[in-house]
């Protein structure tokens, strides 16, 4: 069961097996490669990731902040020439698709530098896909697919969609649960604090009032 790993593309040796092999490759070429990671970004810190990409590749960067502070992070993406192709500040989640124009090392960074005490947990999914087909006339071979094979392709794509949407829900749930736990903690602390303040203030008031009327003048009756 693949959560989009960095798959390679291999072609069979025999011409007769070529179509079959290309078909198998097609089943994986739709998601030719990608990485998804969840990491903790400490406050006032920045974390960058780099990937070497060919020209003409389509990649998508999805990211989401799961826990921490206001659940927001800065993100920017640079191409090999140092040009910023994407830049957003204080975003909770976003998806950035892009087709590469230059071959080289692409950099994307997450920055929590605006925050002084909340460290964030950030999830990102960097998918590289849609490589140009190996055989230009691969579409002609589609007619040679048996029903079994095309059923396999359909099921595989559907499962990939299911996995995608599961990941999406998992992250949303993690974020909401984190907020709910924060809320619970805050309610408890504030309730205890408020009760203490209540006691202190009311007893203090009475003592203060009593002290106004209690003069320590020796031998005089209070009026």
């Amino acid at each position: 069961a693949a959560r989009r790993g960095a798959g390679g593309m291999r072609v069979g040796m025999r011409v007769g097996m070529l179509a079959l092999a290309v078909l198998l490759c097609a089943l994986r070429a739709g998601r030719a490669g990608g990485t998804e990671l969840t990491f903790e970004l400490p406050d006032s810190d920045k974390q960058c990731f780099h990937q070497e990409l060919e020209r003409g590749l389509k990649f998508t960067l999805d990211y989401q902040v799961i826990t921490g502070g206001h659940y927001d992070v800065d993100c920017y993406v640079e191409d090999p020439n140092g040009r910023t192709i994407y830049k957003e500040t204080k975003k909770q989640y976003d998806s950035f698709p892009h087709r590469t124009e230059v071959k080289g090392v692409y950099t994307f960074c997450f920055s929590n530098e605006f925050s002084t005490f909340s460290h964030k947990t950030v999830y990102f999914d960097f998918q590289v896909g849609d490589e140009p087909p190996i055989l230009p006339d691969m579409s002609n071979r589609v007619t040679a697919l048996t029903q079994m094979e095309s059923a396999c392709i359909t099921i595989h794509e559907a499962l990939n969609t299911v996995i995608d949407s599961q990941t999406h829900y998992r992250l949303r749930e993690a974020q909401d649960r984190s907020r709910a736990e924060d809320l619970n903690g805050r309610v408890s602390y504030w309730s205890v604090g408020e009760t203490l303040i209540l006691f202190v203030v009311s007893i203090g008031q009475v003592m203060l009032l009593k002290s106004f009327f209690t003069e320590k003048r020796p031998g005089s009756a209070s009026t």
Binding site: A2, G7, M17, F39, F49, Q166, E173, N184, V187, F213
Partner: protein
């Protein structure tokens, strides 16, 4: 290996993986060290190794081993939850060594059932379709496991929300009672005080 990032020589970099139980996780990494003289990352750094530590959600250490500059590690989770995979180099150089950093290439796959490469050269078509089906079945099992895990987490989430709700209600009642009783006590105490001081 595709994605890489930089880290300090003695810095520990951690990745969090939130996974259901009985899930196989396989990680590949390659680490390179920055060379001051060549002003580039060395392809081979002899003696450089990485400590890989995997911690379970219950703070138990599942895996703690030293690997070389290039390595593959794997573990199977027996608890569901957030597992933390930490990488730290075994470099004993001084941290103050200016400009030294490491480049870590990393690839982590969760629940992957590797497509048997020999299938590509399979002569028997039935076998090839068979193995594709196995791959799909494996994928479905993985989805099913994730869904069960999601159910567990949703339950925990719901419990937390309900606890918050009842907390708020309980504290509101308690505070109102305290307010009323303290109010009564204040008035009573002051009245007695003034009476005793013959002001009333």
């Amino acid at each position: 290996l595709a994605l890489y990032f930089h880290s300090g020589e003695r810095e520990e970099k951690c990745i969090i993986e939130d996974i259901p139980s009985d899930t196989l996780v396989i990680g590949n990494y390659k680490v390179q060290r920055w060379d001051i003289h060549k002003q580039d990352f060395l392809e081979y750094a002899p003696g450089l190794g990485m400590f890989v530590t995997v911690t379970t959600p219950s703070a138990e250490v599942l895996l703690s081993k030293l690997y070389g500059p290039k390595g593959t590690f794997s573990f199977t989770s027996y608890l569901s939850g957030e597992h933390v995979i930490c990488l730290q180099s075994n470099s004993t150089r001084f941290v103050a060594f200016a400009g030294s950093k490491l480049r870590i290439h990393l690839d982590i796959r969760v629940g992957e059932h590797f497509l048997d490469e020999s299938v590509v050269q399979a002569k028997d078509k039935v076998n090839e379709v068979n193995s594709r089906l196995e791959h799909l079945i494996e994928q479905i099992h993985h989805i099913s496991k994730e869904q069960n895990y999601e159910r567990e987490r949703e339950e925990k989430f719901r419990k937390t929300s309900e606890e918050t709700n009842s907390n708020i209600l309980w504290w509101a009642i308690v505070q109102t009672l305290i307010l009323i009783s303290i109010g009564i006590w204040q008035i009573k105490s002051l009245r007695d005080f003034f009476i005793s001081k013959k002001l009333v």
